[in-house]
């Protein structure tokens, strides 16, 4: 019983941490930049994730205008051998 509850709490914590941390980063950046008087921005997104809609919404709703949105995800190539895939 207690072990099960602890597992559930850990899962919740991980989920919320992963879900909200990039949004908080974006909000902090927006606050700092808007305090300095920025009005228009060019957004460049890096990373293989689809959880960036919330970030874009935050930037959009903060009143900062956008010129464009770019995805500049780096693509690994010709390095050392990657680890083998996990067998589940």
């Amino acid at each position: 019983m207690n072990k099960q509850k602890i597992k559930e709490q850990k899962k919740k914590k991980l989920f919320f941490d992963n879900f909200y941390k990039h949004l908080e980063c974006a909000k902090n950046a927006i606050r700092t930049v808007s305090d300095q008087g920025m009005q228009r921005a060019k957004v460049m997104i890096k990373g293989p994730s689809l959880k960036r809609d919330a970030t874009l919404r935050a930037i959009r709703r903060s009143g900062i205008l956008l010129n464009f949105i770019r995805v500049v995800t780096p693509m690994p190539h010709n390095g050392c051998r990657s680890p083998k895939k996990r067998r589940v």
Binding site: M44, P48, S49, L50, D53, L56, R57, R60, R61, L65, L66, N67, F68, I69, R70, V71, V72, T73, M75, P76, H77, N78, R81, S82, P83, K84, K85, R86
Partner: protein, 169 residues
């Protein structure tokens, strides 16, 4: 004199890529690979600088320009609603296939898995082409082109099959 010429060559290298990027670009996997080659070309760029100083005749050898420094770009219109922008952005990202490619490259895959993946991708491509053909049935020319491509694929598959057989025998 040599220094000024090298600077002028550097500027000539750097300036042209700027006007190239179009407003909206879409990147299938092949172009992504081309982009990687461009990345390698960038390394060659530094080597080209050194070779330009040592051997002026090799100044332009193996010089490649970046096709574009990004995978997807969505230009925001004035007074565009939020939902439309987000949907457009998401659609472009899914079309470019950046996320699937990143997931694939995170782990090593051996020859067998690579073959499986390519087979699956080919099947998907054929299914897409079928949908396209079904929409435009009266046109016969793309059918001929598709059959030619399929034949080419069949021809290229044979040597791969022969090689391990020969090695086993």
């Amino acid at each position: 004199m040599a220094a000024s010429s090298s600077f002028s060559t550097l500027f000539s290298f750097l300036l042209p890529p700027k006007p190239h990027p179009p407003p909206i670009t879409r990147f299938p996997l092949q172009k992504l690979r081309a982009q990687q080659q461009d990345g390698q070309g960038h390394h060659h760029h530094s080597l080209a600088e050194v070779s330009a100083v040592a051997n002026p005749s090799h100044a332009h050898a193996k010089t490649l320009f970046f096709r574009s420094a990004y995978n997807v770009q969505v230009v925001v219109e004035e007074n565009e609603p939020e939902e439309r922008l987000l949907n457009r952005f998401r659609r472009e990202v899914m079309r470019a296939g950046v996320i699937q490619e990143c997931k694939r490259r995170r782990f090593f895959e051996n020859k067998q898995e690579e073959k499986k993946r390519k087979t699956r991708e080919a099947a998907k491509r054929k299914s897409r082409s079928r949908r396209f053909q079904s929409k435009f049935q009266p046109q016969n020319k793309p059918d001929v082109a598709a059959t030619k491509k399929e034949e080419d694929d069949d021809n290229w598959d044979l040597p791969e099959v022969d090689a391990p057989y020969i090695s086993t025998a």
